[in-house]
Each structure stands twice: as C-alpha cells, then as structure tokens.
C-alpha cells in the first residue's frame, strides 16, 4: 500500500459512523488496563516494565516509522529522561512529579538541540551523527561519575518515590500504582501518536518519509516538520526514561549505551514500522521471546536474531505492518 492509499484509508475510516481506528486503539488500551486483574503476579510486574519500554518504542516510531529518519542514538533521549528524573529526585530533592517533569524537559531540550544539528544531515549520515551524539552522552554519564555514579548507577530509595496527586497519596513501590502509571503513560503516548499521525502534520511526516524533495516542492517546511517529529519522539522517549527511573528506582549508564538505541529499532521492526500499535506489540513479543528462550538456552539472543531474520525476510513490514498490508488497510 502506498502512503497515499494509507492516507485515503485513514480519511475514509474517520468519515464513517464509527471511528474504527480510534475504537481499536481504545479497545487495546482497555485490554491492557484490564489485564492487571487477570494475569499472574510475574506477568503483572513484567507488563508494567514492558509498557514503559513500549512508550519508548512508540516515541521512536514517530521519527523512524512515520518520518523515515532512522536514529541510532535514541538512547540519549531515554537517558536524558532517566537522569533528569533520577538526579532531580536523588540530588535536588525534587518530588516525583517535579522529577518526572525535569526528565521530560531534559529530553525536550536535548532533542531540540540535537535536532537542530543532526537534521542538517540525511540518510546514513543522520544515523551516524545520532549514534555519535548518543555515544558522547553515554560517555558524559561516565565522565560526571561524581553525580551519576557512572556505570554503577544510582538507586532511588527511601521516600523519594512517594507522592500526593489529586489529594491522594501514591507509593511507587506498590505494584498496582506502578502498573497503572505505566499504563497511563503508554495510553497517553499512544493516543498522542494516533492523533498526530492522523492530523495534517502527520500526513506531512509521511509525505517526507515517502519523498522529502516532493514534500518540499509542495511548499512544506520539511526541516521544521522533521525537527518537530524529532522533538516529539525524543521527548516521548525521555518521558519513558523518566518513568523508568521513578518506577523501577534505578538510573544507570547502561541505559545510555548503544544497546538501548538498537532495542527500540528492533521492537518497532518486529511490531510494525509506521503503525501506532506496532511498537507495543513488538516490545511485548521481544520481552517474552527473550524471557522464554532464556529458560532453555543461554544463546537466547541467537533465538532473537533468528526470529528477526525470519521477520525481515518474510514480514519486512513487521507484524502489524503486514497485517495492514493484507487484512486491515485502515490501520493507522
């Protein structure tokens, strides 16, 4: 399906009596919310973490899947949120909400600055520039070890993770609170992503992905639109990082390493490039693939690699991308 077909399908869906796409996404979110009442304890704990990481993947997909910009340095945005929140809470005595905002703001500022520089390049050069910036950020987390404790990292302990919201106390060490905050974050980001990709701006993003020169010739300011996409993507990734720090009480340099720039790429590739729910599906599947495979072999990453190879060969658009191509044409 071409981008034009996809856009037409989106438009047709929205003109109907029921907004099928919106209903589908709300239904998926409702299932994720309801799962906490029926799944086992381990799945409950795992799903909270998966939802935070899926938020990261949703953010990554806005840049990669919809705008066509392959970043190999998104870990710097995740880490900006992680450290912004973690250091804010542990060393500046900020509350949970303030720390979260500090993390998100860190990502916003970093993605704006990086965007202004990196978007002067395209294609392979963009990949390399983002990777190099991410490596610089990773080294900064080690260089400022006095504040970050470098590779060892920081544990958020004590009352740091208690908060009062809407007059009610919340304890982030509670699995129930953690699950629902992770769910809330994912739900907000999925709905933002859905709204964005179906908006005129979202269509410009797709137009840039399909043919940037043509989009420019049509009068769109492609640089500004790409910067917007990168900032939204980076800020969303930072929100996931900030949530990870506060929910799981650990901030460490490994989250700024190249591995965490590659992971969202794999999650998006697995779930479906350029689909709103694909990153969620991909993150979930990858988690369980690793979890189950590791019970049988220490070569579980080989299993993951083979699975990805199969996917790339037979389902190059990922699971939901293939589904959209063959069955559900209106899937955004």
């Amino acid at each position: 399906m071409s981008a034009g077909d996809t856009m037409a399908a989106h438009g047709a869906t929205r003109r109907g009596l029921f907004d099928k796409a919106l209903l589908l996404h709300l239904a998926v979110l409702a299932v994720l919310f309801g799962l906490q009442f029926v799944i086992g304890e381990y799945q409950h704990l795992s799903l909270a973490r998966v939802m935070v990481l899926a938020t990261y993947a949703v953010g990554y997909n806005i840049l990669f899947g919809y705008t066509g910009l392959l970043s190999l340095g998104h870990a710097m945005f995740f880490a900006a949120g992680l450290y912004g929140a973690g250091i804010g809470a542990s060393q500046f005595g900020l509350g949970v909400q303030e720390s979260f905002i500090a993390g998100v703001f860190s990502g916003l500022v970093l993605s704006t600055v990086i965007g202004l520089i990196a978007l002067r390049t395209t294609g392979v050069a963009f990949m390399i520039v983002t990777m190099m910036f991410a490596q610089a950020c990773y080294l900064l987390t080690l260089y400022f070890g006095e504040y970050t404790r470098g590779d060892e990292g920081i544990v958020l302990k004590g009352d740091i993770r208690q908060m009062v919201m809407f007059g009610y106390p919340f304890d982030l060490t509670s699995p129930v609170v953690r699950y629902n905050i992770a769910f809330g974050l994912l739900a907000v980001c999925v709905l933002i992503c859905l709204a964005l990709v179906r908006s005129p701006t979202g269509r410009v993003l797709v137009a840039i992905r399909e043919n940037e020169e043509r989009a420019g010739m049509l009068g769109y300011d492609t640089f500004r639109t790409k910067l917007f996409a990168l900032v939204v993507s980076g800020t969303m990734s930072a929100a996931a990082g900030a949530a990870y720090a506060l929910l799981f009480a650990y901030v460490g340099a490994s989250f700024a390493s190249i591995q965490y720039s590659i992971l969202p790429l794999l999650w998006v590739l697995l779930g479906g490039i350029g689909t709103v729910l694909g990153p969620v599906v991909g993150t979930l599947l990858m988690f369980y693939l690793v979890d189950y495979a590791s019970e049988y072999t220490s070569a579980y990453m080989l299993v993951v690699g083979v699975a990805l190879l199969i996917l790339v060969v037979w389902f190059p658009k990922g699971l939901l991308g293939t589904l959209r191509e063959r069955v559900i044409a209106w899937l955004p």
Partner: protein
C-alpha cells in the same frame, strides 16, 4: 522442577492496593468477577519442610561478566552438591534455579521479579557486577526477597541499598583497597601514580586508596583515569611523573593485555615498583604472551590463585570439590583459568545462607524476617572448609563482611603470596545501619 504448595500471605498495606482497585471495579458492578480471578499480590510460594529449598542464582552467563559467571556457576554447583550430600540445609535439599541476567541491570531486575513471583525461590544470590546489583536490589527490597550478592562493590555497605540485600561472602572494594595501603607505603614507596578506569569501579579505587595512602604518610603524585572506550594506552604513560615510586593499576576488560604490553614498551627494564589488582587478570593465564613485563610486580589477590607452600586443608578441600588444580585452572583443562580471587565468594555465601537458615528456623517465606535478622546477627566467621579463604567478621549493620587480603608477587609467571593483611587493616566505619529499616 517441583511445584510447591501455594499460600496467600497478607501483603504489606499499600497506599493504593490491588484490593482497593478491585473495590473500585466492584462499584461498577464488576468486582465479583474480578476478585475471583485476581492473582493476589505478594503471593508467595510456601515451601514445606520436606520440599527442596529453592535458591535463585542470578548468573552472568552472557555479557561482559560471562568469564566470571561461568566459574561462579561451577562453584555454586560444587558447593550445592556438597551441601546436599551432607544432608542439605536444615534437612532440606537445595535446588538451584539459575537464570542468565546477561550482565544487564534491566534484565537483572526482571530476574529478581521472576525468582520471587514465578519460580517462588526462598532466596536470590550470586550477582557479581555492581551495576546489575544496583539495578536488581531495589526490586529485591520491594518484593522482600532476601538477596545475597557476591559483588565486592561498596554499594552494600555504603547504605545505598536495602535491608534485604547482603554481601556476606566477599569483602568490598573499599576494604580491599584500604588494606593494601600500609604494605604498599612500607615496602614499595610512598609516591604513587594511579592508573584506573574512568568509571565507578575505578573511582572507588581512586578515592579509597588515595585516602588510605595519605593516612600512611604517602602521596598520590598523579591520577590517570582511562576512558572505558580506550584501546591504546601509550599516550597516557608520559603523564606518569618521574618521581613515581609505585605505579598502581587496575584495568579490567580485554584491553589489559594491550595495557601491560604497552607499559612494558614504555619502561623497558627501568621501571618503578608496580602494584595492580588481579581483577585485571582473572581468568587470564599469567604466562600469556605480552605479560612478561609483569614479572616481579605485585598484585592484590582476594584468594591466592596458586596453591601456596603453607596451603591449608580448607583450600585443598575447596580446590578438590570445585575441580581446580594447584595453578588455579580447571583440572579438566589447564588452560581454563579460574576467577579464583572472586568465585570463593559464592561458596562462602552459600554456607552463610545455610548458617542463617538453620539459625533462624526458616521454614518458608513467612520466616523471611527471622532469616534477615539471623543473617544480621552473624559476627565471627571461622576459617574452615565452609570458609576456605579465611576467617572473617560480618557487620550486621552494614550487611558487609570483612576479611583478610593477600599481596602476591609474580615470580616465574606464577603468583607467590608475600603478605596477608589482617582483618583490621580493611575495616572502616560509616553511618550505615540497615537493621533500623523496617522488614
């Protein structure tokens, strides 16, 4: 793997609990269905006295810690084999549930959750790399899973972790480093240049060795941090002042062979005294090509790799059971060098776990508090088959053990112990008191 009987234990009262969330659903008319299907939080598996004691072994099978993890696993299997052959722990056989954490803190945290809620282990243990401990310990604390690490990091006694995390089988880096200073200052020289990796592990060396040397009237004449991505070290060596009497190095990772080779090329035969940490050369043969320059230099060893002339029967026993020869290599493959200075920590930790379980009368997860308190109550640890590295003192407030350290000299491509520190040499005070934290 045996299925254990499941018992619901009342969870700690959360500010917003699963139950209160369910009540909210009930108001909407769905509570009945939801409550019957709810899994119940903090649902622990109640082990019975006749059933095996399950220990979750968090092992670095892959990732940067794999060389250590492989040997940690061998020691654990050997030790558990011995414990089970001698009647188990409190009459119960021990079952090891091992999971690979990939030497990754995120995966480590997931492992702790899996141990506590899926495998239903009684205790988790065995983690080595500091960042994995730091990522995992908060989850162990929140899930109230007793967690015995074998990491040598200062993170436990620094007070950064929680009441459920202990390090009873291996000394920490602050203690190790501090205890080296008196001998280095007395025998090698007082003007020291330090070369260390520029991350937390190296910073601990920098901070605590500098502090200890100053107490001995010594002086750190230059600090040379090496970025972790560095692959060649030649450019750093001119920074070493000519007044240096002792070059202190601690390099970890695959770059160590290059480091030593280039250091040799820099100095030739006219070198200062050189003192290093064996962490650089764990699992590496001392007679590897390129390491000739180390002849005559000194190393810290947690536990001497080479059997010494005054070898104790405890060390002999330990080597036999684990399958390590007198050169510190596998008896099945003399080229397979062990991580001898660290892996004994798993052996000694398992026997501390045995001691604490038997002292507390631990029967199942409901006795976790008693198990924690029994571990905290341990003080003097004798030198015997269960603790072959040496006698030790456990500090129940810091959750950290203190013990002897060894200084060895490379002679004929082997390591000969030239000094063994006292326990007091490595002791320090701080404000950490985990025992005041609620259980």
């Amino acid at each position: 793997m045996a299925k254990s009987k499941k018992t619901l234990i009342t969870p700690k009262r959360d500010l917003i609990t699963r139950r209160s969330a369910l009540k909210g659903i009930a108001a909407a008319g769905a509570a009945a269905a939801a409550s019957t299907t709810a899994p119940g939080f903090v649902r622990y598996v109640q082990a019975q006295t006749s059933e095996p004691l399950k220990l979750g072994f968090q092992v670095h099978k892959t990732g940067i810690g794999a060389a250590y993890g492989r040997w940690y696993e061998r020691v654990v299997n050997a030790c558990v084999g011995e414990i089970n052959a001698n009647g188990g722990i409190a009459g119960r056989q021990v079952e090891i549930v091992s999971e690979d954490d990939g030497t990754d803190p995120k995966r480590g945290a997931e492992m702790i959750e899996k141990f506590a809620t899926q495998h239903g282990v009684d205790i988790a243990f065995g983690t080595l790399f500091s960042h994995v401990v730091m990522g995992s310990a908060p989850r162990a604390g929140e899930l109230k899973l007793p967690y015995y690490v074998v990491s040598e990091g200062y993170h436990v006694s620094s007070g950064a972790l929680n009441r459920y995390t202990f390090q009873p089988g291996i000394t920490d880096v602050r203690s190790q480093v501090s205890s080296m200073a008196p001998w280095v200052a007395d025998k090698l020289g007082k003007k020291v240049t330090m070369i260390y990796p520029d991350y937390a592990f190296g910073h601990d060396h920098r901070d605590y060795f500098s502090e200890a040397m100053k107490k001995q009237g010594g002086e750190i004449v230059e600090l040379i941090p090496i970025p972790p991505t560095e692959t060649s070290y030649t450019k750093y060596f001119p920074k070493i002042p000519s007044s240096t009497e002792v070059l202190y190095h601690v390099m970890v990772g695959p770059g160590v062979l290059t480091f030593v080779k280039e250091l040799g090329e820099h100095y030739g035969s006219n070198r200062p005294e050189i003192f290093g940490f064996i962490d650089s050369l764990e699992a590496v043969p001392i007679d590897s090509p390129g390491l000739e320059f180390l002849e005559g230099t000194y190393f810290w060893e947690g536990y001497p790799r080479y059997a010494q002339p005054d070898q104790t029967p405890y060390d002999k026993h330990y080597r036999e059971v684990v399958g390590v020869n007198d050169e510190g290599a596998s008896v099945n493959d003399p080229k397979d060098i062990s991580t001898y200075s660290h892996m004994f920590g798993c052996w000694e930790t398992l026997y501390i776990i045995k001691q604490a379980i038997e002292a507390s009368g631990y029967k199942g997860p409901k006795d976790k508090a008693a198990l924690i308190e029994a571990t905290e109550a341990i003080t003097d640890i004798p030198w015997d088959n269960q603790h072959p590295q040496g006698d030790k003192v456990f500090n129940g407030k810091m959750h950290q053990v203190f013990g002897h350290q060894n200084i060895s000299q490379v002679a004929n491509s082997k390591l000969d112990v030239v000094h063994r520190t006292s326990i007091e040499d490595g002791m320090y005070e701080n404000d950490t008191d985990y025992s005041k934290m609620p259980l």
